[in-house]
Amino acid sequence: MSTPVAPAPRHDPETVLDVRGLVTSFPGPNHRLAVVDGVDLTLARGETLALVGESGCGKSLTALSILRLVPKPGRIDRGTVRLGARDLRALPVTELRRVRGHEISMIFQEPMTSLNPVVTAGKQVVEAIRLHERVSSTQARRRALTLFEQVGIPDPASRLNAYPHQLSGGMKQRVMIAMALAARPSVLIADEPTTALDVTIQGQILDLLRELRDQLGTAILLITHDLGIVNELADRIAVMYAGHLVEVGTRRDILAAPRHPYTQGLLRSIPARAQRGERLAEIAGVVPPPGQWPTGCRFAPRCTRAFEPCTRLDPGPTRLSANHTAWCHAVAQEEGSSPVGGVPA
């Protein structure tokens, strides 16, 4: 049912986050449905990995699973999430709380609702600082002011006392970023950080994230369905479809030479790439909901290149280069390796 867990990678001191064989499930009508089904991700210091896929493919849930914030009745069934030297899945809750926000943080899609409406922006940042460091409130306030400057909030001193409703969406997202980076975490998970913002503001926030990443060496796991953003920020890209990874590679690999038919379809369907007068490309069909995933390759019913083993066998990984891997029978065949790389579904 899941792809085989890849062999443990050689220990790399630069690796800050290492997710192996992550399975997160929700109860279905008959049995539990694995909505995230055997995902492997690694993130090096200062690196940005974009996790890309259509709505409902499990990318946000992957992020929540890393932080162990899966909403009930969901549950993480299998896998390891190593942050530095520790396995987050094995950590007791009190320890985990110390890690969240301190070593790994998250910002959310909706800046409009991500701040507490009855507490001033400055106080919320101060609290984020004091959650993890024993500093006086005046010291924390000074730090908050510096953070506000760092995330490019104009007139930071007066903005400290502003309530969220007095700030624009972009400002609020900057405050969120300030909160998330208050304790200088080594990993920042950004779940669609710009989706709810105007295009002009989107660019500013992306610039800010890039700047902070380079300054602080924070690794970013960027979750998005917007390939434009991916092109701006990502070093590596992981494409997800129906709970599985389908292709992982560097930005160049994925954007310039995608191999998986799904990745190819996604790139073709970017409207900006279409010629005038030409019909916009699309991938026929829709992502099947969990529970209606077909046996074999989950993309097979929508795939133009599907052939015999696709509907029968789960495709295994085909390594195309050191960093580039695709999970596809057709790719495996092209590469001349055994067309059956996986296990019977």
Binding site: P71, G101, T113, S114
Partner: protein, 346 residues
């Protein structure tokens, strides 16, 4: 300690607490703006309520004055050593006490027509025992405020505690608390009230406690529902992702965002409890000196011809005025604190 000193202390603590709460609310812009808006929209209602509160407070602080003990002769010497409030001192027995009923501003007794001791002095007449009705009506304010305010102070912490815990933690905890809520809600509240008063006794505090025990379930339900909504909001998730504990999330992110409900509920349940006490008085188990009790006593006199209407009307008008003012205030508070209108004004 003398009981009247204790009750004085309670009043001072309550007024101090209220002042502190208002002072801390003034520091938040949201509340300060809401307060200003309230004054702008409902000046008359606020003035009426302040008058009720002032009368209640004047009647709440009592003291024994040594000098009056020696100078007063005749009358009833027992009452002289009792602690008396400012209202009591405005209506001393020796200047206001009659033998029986008299109509407002009358100079003769209603029954028999004997001349009054203090003709023309009783603005609202006197009752069966010759007590001034205006005096009794004014004294009723304290009882009404006590019933409304004290009961609400019992209800809100109970409802917040159970509602937030049930809504936030869910699962088994929610099942148990919701079972408790449903059980209490399924019993006829009047029967439960009567039973509780039988068990607890009939003092004012006991009646408030009984009203509180039966009255918290409705608000607890509202709080639970709102908590269910709040705990799924992004800022709660964000707080958790940044490493905040459950206790911190509840105290910092859930409860402050319920405060507008608390204020609205405080105002709206207040009048409900005052009315509930009036019903209890009508059943004969209310608090002595309440408007409900006055109405209950006046009820028997309605069949006389000519009718004795002044005690009934005085108590009813006083009760009606308070309830109407509180309800109008409640509507205004709800309008002002409604998040939708809040955003428009922002």
């Amino acid at each position: 300690m003398e009981p009247y000193l204790l009750s004085n202390a309670v009043v001072v603590v309550l007024v101090g607490g209220l002042a502190a709460a208002l002072a801390s609310a003034r520091r938040s812009r949201v509340w300060r703006d809401a307060g200003r808006e309230l004054v702008r929209r409902r000046p008359i209602v606020l003035a009426v309520l302040l008058a009720y509160v002032a009368i209640g407070l004047l009647d709440s602080l009592a003291w024994v004055s040594g000098s009056s003990a020696g100078t007063t002769q005749g009358a009833d010497t027992v009452s002289i050593h009792k602690p008396r409030s400012a209202i009591d001192r405005l209506f001393p027995d020796e200047r206001y006490r009659e033998k029986s009923y008299s109509a407002p501003l009358a100079d003769r007794e209603f029954l028999g027509g004997a001349p009054l001791r203090h003709p023309g002095r009783h603005l609202l007449g006197t009752d069966l025992l010759g007590r001034d009705v205006l005096y009794q009506t004014l004294k009723g304010a304290r009882v009404a405020l006590l019933v409304g305010g004290f009961t609400t102070l019992i209800v809100i912490p109970l409802a917040l505690l159970f509602g937030v815990v049930a809504g936030y933690f869910g699962g088994r905890v929610d099942d148990v608390i919701f079972f408790l809520i449903s059980t209490l809600a399924s019993m006829p509240s009047l029967l439960l009230l009567i039973a509780l008063i039988m068990v607890l006794g009939r003092g004012p505090v006991q009646v408030c406690v009984a009203l509180g025990i039966t009255g918290w379930v409705g608000f607890a339900r509202v709080v639970r529902g709102e908590t269910l909504k709040l705990r799924e909001l992004d800022y709660v998730h964000a707080a958790r992702a940044l490493g905040a504990s459950d206790a911190r999330i509840v105290l910092r992110h859930i409860v402050p965002n319920l405060m507008h409900l608390v204020v609205i509920t405080f105002v709206l349940t207040f009048s409900g409890f005052v009315l509930a006490e009036a019903v209890l008085s009508w059943l004969g188990i209310g608090i002595d000196g309440s408007w409900g009790r006055m109405i209950d006593q006046a009820r028997d006199e309605l069949s006389r011809d000519p009718i004795i209407w002044w005690n009934l009307v005085s108590a009813s008008v006083a009760l009606f005025g308070l309830i109407l003012a509180v309800n109008l205030l409640g509507d205004a508070v709800r309008d002002i604190l409604d998040p939708r209108t809040l955003r428009e004004r922002a």
